[in-house]
């Protein structure tokens, strides 16, 4: 039986590992309850100079202390959309890693430490990484090593090194294991000439070697106490953190263009953009939108077009090169309420971790009030062979308005997808007539407009 949370709320299913601190939700707000030891850590953080700085510059989630019936709670700023590191692009994970290292060094300077080092403690708000786990901080005890070093390597450093030096996408690896990539696995990808890339020799090869050296012997000695007794100190952690920051700064990924990174310059895309943008703006602007999903967003053009009427727009695309380019461009030019994410719609993020509830699936992280589905339906039905009825049924489960672009089978882009398929290998009901029939079961077609060979629909859920 699940214990009831304070203030009549319910505990966050992802918050249970740390016995000192637990997140719960009540009346739409986010709170944290603390054990006596957790409270001690909070007081140390609250009284430090860095807390004021971090709250002012937004690097730490906005937090206020509440006392209710003699108990102390923390109330946190609500994150508009919760994303997972396996949905981030290279530059996003790298920015998050640099934030973690900066906070740790500043915390150590203030007599604090961080007890873990996971990107799951970081979220993006207006395209800036924000540290959300206030419970991670505690007073630094002389002699303590950096307990999160291994976790930092497995969940930040190795994914970035794999992408930068072996061109291995880290998203499937992080999605496959919430603990991240073990040293031996990272080493398997980073051998030979890659050994001498920044960070590989010390953090990968030597750590994998250290694992082997300590794994083949039964060892119950207390390493923490031994290190402490031998004079380990915070300055050694700071040196390591500064070294890792240099490694991060030298770790860059310069991908060649992908099939989708130059999509916007294709003739048919440029020709249709004006018509589509006017239609999308007209629909989106009918009311204020809290959360908009742009599925198959490519360079985020239409996400940006609706950003002024939305609190947050999630621009999802399966191509990491495009997502990374979009992230860096939006970070410089805005709008900053567009969050680009790596997401394959035919295989979207599922529920992961303990009981499948530790990392929520895409659909579990807030209901969009508008979904843009432009030039993507043919990829799902023809490219990935998803049944058209199932795609429309999935859209209906969201309960959102939809802007859908119908791409008929005789469209040149559909023809490309069917070039190596026989007609019977494509779902027979991929027709506009069937689309209207399936949509009619869940939506009313509020407006529609032709767009060269294609057709735009504004779908409103039947109530």
């Amino acid at each position: 039986m699940v214990a009831a949370a304070p203030l009549g709320g319910s505990y966050d299913p992802a918050s249970f590992r740390d016995p000192l601190s637990r997140v719960f939700h009540a009346d739409g707000d986010v709170y944290r309850t603390l054990s006596p030891e957790g409270l001690e850590g909070w007081h140390a953080l609250r009284e430090s100079a860095c807390f004021t700085d971090w709250m002012a510059d937004g690097r730490l989630v906005a937090t206020e202390e509440l006392v209710d019936d003699g108990s102390t709670y923390l109330k946190h700023q609500r994150i508009p959309f919760w994303s997972h590191p396996y949905e981030w692009s290279f530059s996003m994970l790298r920015d998050a890693a640099l934030l973690h290292l900066d906070l740790l060094e500043e915390a150590l300077g203030a007599g604090l430490t961080m007890k873990d080092a996971t990107p799951y403690n970081i979220q993006f708000v207006d395209l800036s990484p924000v540290f959300v786990d206030v419970g991670s901080f505690s007073r630094y005890e002389t002699g303590e090593p950096w307990l999160g070093y291994r976790q930092f390597c497995q969940q930040f450093l190795y994914p970035l090194l794999l992408r930068a030096h072996a061109d291995v996408p880290f998203q499937p690896l992080l999605r496959g294991s919430l603990d991240g990539i073990p040293p031996a696995t990272a080493r398997a990808f980073l051998r030979s000439g890659r050994t001498f890339k920044p960070g590989v020799l010390l953090d990968v090869a030597l750590q994998a070697r250290a694992d082997r050296s300590t794994a083949d012997r039964s060892d119950d000695r207390n390493v923490r106490s031994e290190l402490s007794a031998a004079g380990f100190n915070a300055e050694m952690i700071v040196r390591n953190v500064r070294r890792l920051r240099k490694v991060m700064e030298k770790t860059r990924w310069s991908p060649a263009s992908s099939p989708w990174s130059d999509y916007a310059s294709c003739g048919h895309v440029a020709d249709q953009r004006g018509i589509k943008e006017a239609f999308v703006r007209q629909v989106a602007g009918q009311r204020h939108r809290r959360l908009v999903w742009d599925l198959g967003a490519n360079d985020g053009h239409f996400s940006a077009a609706v950003a002024d009427v939305a609190e947050v727009v999630i621009a999802m695309d399966a191509d990491e090169v495009t997502v990374d380019n979009t992230y860096r461009r939006l970070k410089t030019n805005g709008p900053r309420n567009v969050l680009p994410l790596v997401m394959n719609l035919a295989d979207p993020s599922p529920g992961l971790g303990w009981r499948g509830a530790e990392r929520l699936p895409l659909e579990g992280r807030g209901t969009p009030d508008l979904v843009l589905m432009l030039a993507v339906i043919h990829h799902l039905v023809i490219g990935s062979n998803l049944p058209l009825a199932s795609v429309i049924d999935w859209l209906a489960t969201l309960g959102s308005e939809v802007v859908l672009e119908w791409v008929p089978l005789d469209d040149p882009m559909s023809q490309r997808l069917t070039a190596n398929k026989r007609r019977h290998e494509v779902h027979a009901d991929y027709t506009e007539e069937d689309l209207r029939r399936y949509c009619g079961q869940h939506f009313s077609i509020t407006t529609e407009q032709p767009c060269e060979t294609r057709r735009l629909f504004h779908l409103t859920p039947l109530r």
Partner: protein
């Protein structure tokens, strides 16, 4: 038996990873490494003992896990 892993707090800090930090902590860290933790990377038993084939060791030692 799980060895080589070191649960600290609620995460696996890794025995080897903790020791490695001494090497990554500058000159003073190296001193800590050689003072204590380096012993773990050296053989824990004498060469002669480790050289005895399993088949020749006492039964209770071979079956111990």
């Amino acid at each position: 038996m799980i060895v080589g892993y070191m649960m600290v707090g609620y995460l696996d800090a890794g025995t080897g990873s903790l020791i490695l930090q001494t090497v990554l902590g500058g000159a003073a860290g190296l001193a800590v490494f050689f003072k204590t933790a380096g012993r773990r990377f050296l053989p824990s038993r004498g060469k002669s003992e480790r050289a005895i084939p399993v088949s020749e060791r006492p039964v209770e030692e071979v079956t111990e896990s």
